[in-house]
């Protein structure tokens, strides 16, 4: 490491109404260093990098780059100063081509032809195959990430910020990405690597800064620190892992027979011949990289998407032609990934959101007339049982934090005593204690004889709660296998290996 740090942050503070996102945060990054920024959701990692990237201005504190003041007013200025950023949610344009997307992220983009050649060169050099003429909407999540990375690399960044880059990758793709990052680091590019996955950080990063509730709670050398110690710093207390007693699964509740369906979205993924049985009391975990048919599978089970006869059977009865309401009446409940706008209506009160899915099973309506008093009581019950932090059921859904709303949404379905519950990303963006509570609730439900389908991109979560594991890849579901004893390698192969990256070599 050299004496003058590439980037020196000292005393950065940023407050939003009601919350201090960053409180006196300081850290230093040397050229070529791979620096991890570690913390739970809501710890303030995103706010910090947004300040470095010029998207947010700090309230106090200063930033220096090579000992010179650095205060980017906008992303453009940050890019000009040599900061590149790969977002967790890609800022890409589906209808435009790879080359057009990359041109939009550059200050002085060359002509498209010349740019396409540069893209090919960089993708060869770093082993990231990508065709410049393809429309981004048709790319897989891993390929989309490559677009972002190449966009940054074309500008010769001194510092590359990566926000949770591996959440959309298979284990094999992660290895390839790490090779690319190590090569970059060897060439002198510093990398600020944001993650909450400890093993990843231990294998990749030179140093780490740990954030909790907006404050720096420690620095460490990840290679010399155990994952357990880092976890304790990150969370602040030891967490209980969910427990469950092994139990013999009961009769078949859900039976999918070559379920195929077109996606309702233009850039969605069709489902292709999915066959699987789920039994009472069993948890089927479904992994896979985002965009491989997760949303579509949930829609096909919840009844938002109808399917041809004979494909979806519930206790032996064909339900493919039934909409969400009759399916709920039968006992098929679900909780989609997107909390605001899909699982809940943002501007409506929690009482109204309780009415949204519980009208039939909780007898909140009779002959079309709605019983708001009952709905209010049901909402209160959810709030109480699941420890949802809110002043009361008359508050709008959007006023809740992500974790609290997620507890409400999951709780709403769990309390309706489902026979089959389908959830997509049950703990996405939720802090660790809430996530543990949600997982425990799901396991308790299975204990009581409910069949569960848990779709998630968090492999650790799936390994923790699943009886059997299967992976979605390009709309196909792999053969389910008992979750106990599966290796990361095997899981990766089930998820589709490296998505056409086998040819890649560094």
């Amino acid at each position: 490491m050299t004496d003058v740090p590439l980037l020196d942050l000292s005393g950065l503070t940023k407050a939003y109404p009601g919350v201090v996102a960053n409180d006196n945060v300081s850290l230093q990054i040397a050229p070529g260093e791979v620096h991890a920024l570690l913390g739970e959701n809501g710890a303030g990692k995103s706010t910090l990098v947004k300040m470095i990237y010029g998207l947010v201005k700090p309230d106090a504190g200063k930033m220096q780059m090579f000992a010179a003041p650095f205060a980017p007013a906008e992303p453009r200025a940050a890019r000009a100063a040599g900061v590149g950023m790969v977002f967790q949610h890609f800022s890409l344009f589906d209808a435009l081509t790879v080359a057009e997307n990359i041109a939009l992220g550059m200050e002085n983009a060359p002509k498209l032809n010349a740019l396409s050649q540069q893209i090919r060169d960089v993708s060869d050099t770093y082993g990231l195959p990508l065709s410049p003429d393809r429309v981004v909407g048709d790319l897989s999540a891993g390929e989309r990430q490559r677009v972002e990375i190449i966009r940054c690399l074309l500008q010769d960044p001194k510092l590359l910020i990566m926000d949770e880059p591996t959440s959309v990758l298979t284990p094999q793709e992660v290895e390839i990405l790490f090779k690319t990052l190590r090569k970059l680091s060897a060439e002198g590019t510093a990398i600020l690597y944001i993650s909450h996955k400890l093993e990843e950080i231990r294998s990749l990063c030179d140093s780490a800064t740990i954030l909790r509730l907006g404050k720096v709670v420690g620095h460490c050398i990840p290679r010399d620190t155990s994952a357990r110690d880092m976890a304790e710093m990150m969370v602040g207390k030891m967490l209980q892992t969910p427990t469950r007693a092994g139990k013999e699964p009961g009769e078949v509740v859900l039976s999918l027979n070559k379920l195929s369906a077109k996606s309702p979205n233009a850039f969605g993924m069709p489902l292709r011949e999915i066959s699987v049985d789920v039994r009472a009391g069993e948890v089927l975990g479904i992994g896979g990289v985002a965009g491989n048919g997760q949303d579509e599978l949930l829609a096909a089970l919840s009844g938002e998407m109808l399917s041809a006869p004979g494909m979806v059977a519930f206790r032996g009865v064909d339900v493919g032609k039934l909409g969400p309401t009759p399916r709920r009446a039968l006992g098929i409940l679900s909780a989609p990934e997107e909390r605001l706008g899909h699982a809940a209506a943002p501007d409506m009160s929690l009482t109204e959101n309780a009415m949204l899915t519980a009208a039939v099973r909780e007898k909140l309506e009779s002959r079309g007339l709605l019983n708001w008093a009952r709905a209010g009581r049901f909402a209160e019950k959810i709030i109480e049982t699941f420890d949802v932090r809110t002043p009361g059921p008359s508050n709008a859904a959007r006023s809740l934090s992500g974790g609290n709303l997620q507890k409400f949404v999951i709780g709403r379905e769990v309390l309706q005593r489902p026979d089959l519950l389908v959830v997509n990303q049950p703990t996405w963006g939720v802090d660790a204690s809430a996530a543990a509570a949600i997982r425990q609730a799901l396991l308790d439900l299975a204990e009581g004889g409910t069949a569960l389908v848990v779709i998630s991109q968090d492999l650790d979560e799936l390994m923790e709660i699943s009886d059997r594991f299967a992976a979605l890849n390009e709309g196909r579901l792999s053969q389910p296998r008992p979750a106990g004893g599966l290796s990361v390698e095997e899981i990766g192969l089930m998820m589709g290996g490296a998505h056409g990256m086998e040819v890649a070599h560094v």
């Binding site: 947004k50 010029g54 998207l55 947010v56 906008e74 992303p75 453009r76 890019r79 977002f87 890609f90 800022s91 890409l92 344009f93 589906d94 209808a95 435009l96 057009e100 041109a103 939009l104 992220g105 983009a109 233009a266």
Partner: protein, 306 residues
């Protein structure tokens, strides 16, 4: 009925004229929609342009100044829409309707003292011997400059959208305002400029009706052309050249039904007069299955939250 009263050469020359207001209004709206904003106020901006242009032309005696004033008038009115939808984040459908209702009232108010007046004539461009070529000459080379400008505008819009960085940024903002914002593009500013461009174009289109096609001022004289222009953008799948084709199709139908009325066809006048609207509906039905070309953010409100 005497169909021979319809002179095919005059008919074709006539429908080029009939299509021009549509071309202006629709190409403006195409740019607005490409930026991700749906402005339903085209009718209101057209009629405002029609009276601004008419009044200015009458007062100054210069039709070209009239067109300039129409562009300014349309753009100013569209600024109201931009304020509502970009600054106060109002619903775009409601704001567009408000613009149309307001524009119709405003133009009626402004136009009170101009009813029954003849505006100064805008002379056709002198193409010399070209206009003497049989058939082609009278069809192509006997028009005013604004008509040619309309065609040039379509070509320019196509080229800018396809080949320039400005066009790429405009399309990007319409595809995903969040992504564009994350890259540091000024979504609100870009959309406001697009909306003003749309307003100016609609204004010129309106003035073309009041100064050249009719030419006089009556209340509500745009009679739904603005709405047909909106339909035309859908018809064209947001592609400039298809838009030109569509405008000529509608111009042809309008001109044909007028000629048929003149020729005394046995169909009642009212049914001929409703035909452009009915045909618009039919075309919408045929083409609305393909929505994939629509900008992904069309009609959605953008609020930068960091």
């Amino acid at each position: 009925m005497d169909l021979s009263a319809i002179n095919p050469i005059l008919f074709v020359a006539g429908f080029l004229v009939a299509a021009t207001p549509l071309i202006f209004a629709a190409i403006g709206e195409l740019v607005v929609e490409k930026s991700g904003t749906l402005n339903l106020g085209v009718e209101g901006m057209m009629i405002t342009g029609a009276i601004c242009g008419f009044a200015t032309a009458v007062e100054t005696g210069s039709p070209l100044l009239g067109f300039a004033a129409a562009a300014v008038g349309g753009a100013l009115l569209s600024l109201l829409f931009a304020f509502l939808t970009q600054i106060t984040l109002a619903n775009q459908v409601a704001s567009g309707l408000a613009l149309t209702l307001f524009g119709l009232g405003l133009s009626a108010l402004l136009g009170q003292s101009y009813v029954g007046i003849k505006p100064p004539r805008l002379n056709d461009i002198n193409f010399g011997p070209l206009s003497d070529i049989p058939v082609i000459g009278p069809i192509l080379f006997t028009h005013d400059i604004i008509l040619y400008l309309g065609i040039a505008l379509v070509a320019a819009t196509w080229a800018v959208l396809k080949f320039t960085r400005a066009g790429l940024i405009l399309r990007a903002v319409g595809e995903s305002h969040d992504a564009a914002h994350a890259l540091g593009y000024k979504v609100v500013r870009i959309r406001t400029l697009a909306i003003m461009f749309g307003g100016a174009c609609a204004g010129i289109g309106g003035a073309y009706i009041s100064l050249i096609r009719v030419p006089q001022w009556t209340e509500g004289m745009t009679a739904g052309v603005g709405w047909i222009a909106l339909a035309l953008v859908v018809f064209a799948s947001w592609k400039p050249w298809r838009l030109l084709l569509g405008a000529y199709l509608f111009g042809g139908i309008t001109q044909l039904q007028l000629n048929l009325q003149g020729a005394g066809v046995a169909i009642p006048v009212e049914y001929l007069a409703m035909s452009p609207y009915v045909i618009t509906i039919i075309v919408l039905v045929i083409l609305s299955r393909d929505k994939s070309a629509a900008p992904a953010c069309l009609g959605r409100t953008f609020h930068a939250s960091s």
